[in-house]
């Protein structure tokens, strides 16, 4: 691997996003994760909560891709592709569960479901 390629990879693309470094990507990822977490903790709507988890999920994926690019290592990106596939399947199942839960209580409020406790 050529030395200029490493420089290219580690110091950012010349155009069109000149100057965007790993730190930028990680910052975006962190913000996405924080939004997702706060959304998950504050909202009661099951679908919104589920969307928030997806957001946190994708924040993690973004960080992985950024690191993968930074290290010129493809396994991180491969991993994210698998995660996306699983997330798609998981989304389908989770939404089906939400539909079932809604049919039981006619409500999407997460606080309706507190039967399983110690």
């Amino acid at each position: 691997m050529g030395a200029d390629l490493i420089v290219l990879a580690q110091q950012g693309f010349p155009t069109p996003m000149g100057g965007a470094t790993l730190a930028h990507y990680l910052l975006v990822s962190a913000i996405m994760f924080a939004i997702g977490l706060i959304g998950f903790l504050t909202r009661r709507n099951l679908i919104v909560m589920f969307l928030c988890t997806e957001l946190m999920f994708q924040a993690g994926g973004l960080a992985l891709i950024a690191f993968s690019r930074f290290h010129l290592e493809h396994s991180g990106q491969t991993f994210v592709i698998f995660v996306l596939t699983v997330a798609a399947a998981e989304a389908a199942m989770a939404l089906a569960l939400v539909v079932l839960l809604f049919r039981k209580r006619e409500s999407l409020d997460a606080d309706e479901w507190t039967e399983m406790k110690g």
Binding site: D111, W113, G118
Partner: protein, 747 residues
């Protein structure tokens, strides 16, 4: 000089000095015939067949006939064994049972060998002849006696009956102490099963448990004795054990008991405890009278004729071991004599005829033990033999009365039974049995009892035992004929027992009440066949006593003939008769040989009021017996108008509290209850609290700790999704904070 060494010095030198006995080589143990194993196997087969009958729900008398057939063949084989028997000793090994070998710390090879083998000598033959013979007859009797219970109960009865004979055969024929122990426990189990036969009757269940527990106490002694015998002599097989004791006997004869190890002297004492338990001697006799709750054939076979003589058999079989102990035989003699007296006094005051017979059994067993104790194993074995026949016939006669009068056993409520129609055989059997038991001259019981009495006076220091036994003989004659004069002769009168309404007390396996009614009808029809014992009495209008049928009559007649015939055995062969010959040839022979010779040796021996007991005891015991009978005649027959009262009642107030005490069995049960049961109960209450507070408390504490933790943490799992999310986020934040602070601190 101790008592025991005196006794042995008086009788033993002759034994070792006699040319033909002591120095004769010990007879080698030959191999016995294979078919000897069939003698115990056939009763076991009958037990299994009865079990099959129960499984396929046989509702006929088939189990009884199978049992009678198997036992009958077994008896014939026993007779054949006796015929083939050549006066030696033989061992038939059916299969190897226990064979453990190891090397001990000294590098010696040790082995515990206990085969399922049968040791046959004359003592075995003697015992097996009356065990299988009586078992066959009594099974035949029971086929009629138990007929009210045909069905599951009938099968259960005969299965236990077969198992009993098998166990008894193992006990008597086993060639080692472990097989004897197996048989010993087996007969105890069958005794328990059969006493508790009417298991719906609380008193029967209690009696069964009492018998079992009392026997456990004795069995502990027996087990320890067997262990100690093995530790001391390295074997439990008779052929080794009995010869191993010989060197010690010589020391005992010289009076050097201090040369005999203590453990050797302890073996007979431990074995003796087992014998006291099984043969109902003081202080363990209280279970036997209660055992009468079982069906009468069981009382006759197990609790009068065979099982209870197992203790006598054990001592006779291991007689050489008993001779080496300084105290064992004197203890046996004293316990036997005191048991004989105590049981006789209780028997005098009872009103239940079966219970009187039970106490007389205890009393006669005491005689046998006293006989062993005063060194006449011949007398003891002869008394076992004759007693087996006449006591069986007495019990079976009582059982016939009980069967015919709906369970009535109170001698105040029955009178003149012998004059009722169809009861002559029973009355005759009873009369012959009573004469035997009372020791009336020229009956079998007279000769066997006489042998023990004479020997008690002959043996040094044992005269008090002779006097006790003589007194007991008088009391025995009195209480025996008290029953006869009250129940079988006199004015005809009766009150039926409380089983008149369809045997209310009997626990019928799985019969419903409808079946009871049917059974009762069958019984009445049966009575009609044989003619009613119509009495002038005041029986309830409906009740007719039913005279016994052919099976009961046949068995009673056979036993009567046998108990008369047993007297003839005394005249077969010389000096002591056939039984003496049998005993001389067996392991119990030592004192008998000594006895043969000691007259000529001129050793000083005891006398009866200055006369030779052997010569005068015939007259003395005959007179004592006759006096007892005459007193009973005067008190219970002369001038008696009703069943309930007799001349004896006038005498009772003169004796103060004694009749009351005797009627209450000297309150021995109550004393045991107070001294043993109550304290144990208190201790067990204390232990129950210790168990609850300490043991349970400890365990519960260990259970409580995780529970307490859990209840502290449980609220965290509130079931709320947001709660979990906050906890998780908080946890992650906390972790990050720690990592952050750690990195700031430069860790």
């Amino acid at each position: 000089m101790t008592i025991a060494s005196d006794i042995l010095q008086a009788v033993l030198p002759a034994m070792l000095g006699a040319p033909d006995a002591a120095h004769a080589p010990i007879q080698p143990v030959g191999a016995g015939a294979w078919w000897i194993g069939l003698i115990p196997a056939l009763p076991l087969l009958s037990c299994i067949l009865c079990g099959v009958c129960a499984a396929i729900k046989v509702k006929s008398k088939l189990p009884a006939w199978l049992t009678v057939l198997c036992l009958g063949i077994s008896f014939m084989l026993t007779v054949w064994m006796f015929q083939q028997f050549a006066g030696g000793r033989s061992v038939t090994v059916a299969w190897e049972w226990i064979n453990l070998g190891w090397t001990d710390s000294q590098g010696q090879r040790q082995a515990l060998v206990a085969n399922f083998g049968f040791y046959v000598d004359s003592l075995t033959c003697l015992w097996m002849l009356f065990v299988t013979g009586l078992a066959t007859l009594i099974a035949l009797y029971a086929s009629e006696y138990m007929s009210h219970d045909v069905g599951a109960g009938y099968c259960r009865f005969f299965a236990a009956f077969g198992l009993f004979v098998f166990s008894m055969a193992c006990l008597v024929m086993g060639d080692n102490l472990i097989l004897l122990y197996l048989g010993w426990e087996g007969v105890g189990l069958c005794s328990y099963l059969l006493i508790g036969y009417f298991y719906k009757k609380p008193s029967a269940v209690a009696a069964a448990k009492k018998a079992f527990i009392m026997n456990r106490i004795g069995d502990l002694g027996l087990a320890l004795g067997v262990f100690l015998a093995f530790v001391q002599f390295g074997s439990v097989e008779y052929k080794v054990l009995l010869d191993a004791a010989r060197p010690y006997i010589e020391a005992a004869q010289a009076g050097h008991f201090d040369e005999i190890p203590f453990t050797v002297q302890l073996i007979p004492i431990l074995l003796m405890v087992g014998a006291f338990g099984k043969s109902a001697q003081l202080p363990l006799y209280v279970w036997l009278p209660d055992a009468m709750e079982g069906p009468t054939p069981v009382s006759a076979l197990i609790h009068a004729a065979t099982m209870v003589t197992a203790g006598v058999y054990l001592i006779a079989r291991t007689y050489p071991l008993f001779l080496v102990s300084e105290y064992a035989l004197p203890i046996v003699a004293w316990v036997g004599a005191l048991t004989a007296l105590v049981a006789a006094t209780i028997g005098m005051a009872q009103f239940d005829i079966k219970r009187i017979m039970a106490y007389s059994t205890v009393s006669q067993l005491g005689y046998m033990f006293a006989g062993l104790g005063v060194l006449t194993s011949t007398g003891a074995a002869f008394h076992v033999f004759t007693h087996a026949f006449f006591k069986a016939s007495l019990f079976l006669a009582c059982g016939a009365v009980m069967h015919g009068f709906a369970g009535q056993l109170d001698l105040r409520k029955l009178s003149g039974v012998g004059f009722m129609k169809g009861w002559q055989v029973v009355a005759l059997a009873m009369l012959v049995g009573c004469l035997n038991l009372a020791g009336f001259p020229f009956t079998a019981g007279y000769f066997s009892k006489d042998m023990i009495l004479a020997e008690a006076f002959v043996t040094p220091h044992m005269a008090p035992i002779g006097w006790i036994l003589l007194l007991t003989a008088g009391l025995t004659a009195y209480y025996t004929f008290r029953v006869f004069f009250r129940v079988f002769v006199g004015p005809k009168s009766f009150e039926p027992g409380d089983e008149v309404h369809a045997h209310a007390d009997h626990a019928h396996g799985d019969h419903g009440h409808g079946d009871h009614g049917h059974d009762a009808h069958g019984d009445h029809a049966h009575a009609a066949d044989h003619g009613h014992g119509h009495a002038a009495g005041h029986g309830s209008g409906e009740f007719h006593p039913h005279a016994p049928g052919w099976a009961i009559n046949f068995v009673l007649a056979a036993l009567t003939v046998l108990s008369i015939g047993a007297a003839g055995l005394y005249f077969l062969g010389d000096h002591g008769g056939w039984v003496a010959k049998m005993v001389h040839e067996s392991s119990a022979n030592l004192p008998a040989v000594a006895h043969d010779a000691h007259g000529s040796e001129g050793h000083a021996h005891g006398t009866f009021l200055g006369m030779d007991p052997h010569k005068v005891m015939y007259y003395v015991s005959g007179i004592v017996g006759a006096v007892g009978i005459i007193i009973a005649f005067g008190l219970h027959y002369l001038g008696r108008k009703t069943a309930a009262t007799a001349n004896a009642d006038k005498l009772v107030p003169l004796l103060g509290p004694i009749p009351k005490l005797a009627q209450g069995k000297w309150f021995v049960d109550e004393i045991y209850d107070f001294l043993i049961v109550k304290p144990l109960h208190l201790v067990s209450i204390v232990f129950a609290y210790v168990d609850k507070l300490l043991v349970d408390g400890l365990v519960n504490t260990f259970g409580w700790i995780p529970r307490a933790f859990g209840s502290g943490l449980r609220p965290l799992q509130g079931g709320n999704l947001h709660g979990y999310a906050v906890q998780m986020a908080g946890g992650v934040a906390l972790l990050l904070l720690i990592v952050f602070l750690a990195s700031i601190a430069g860790l």
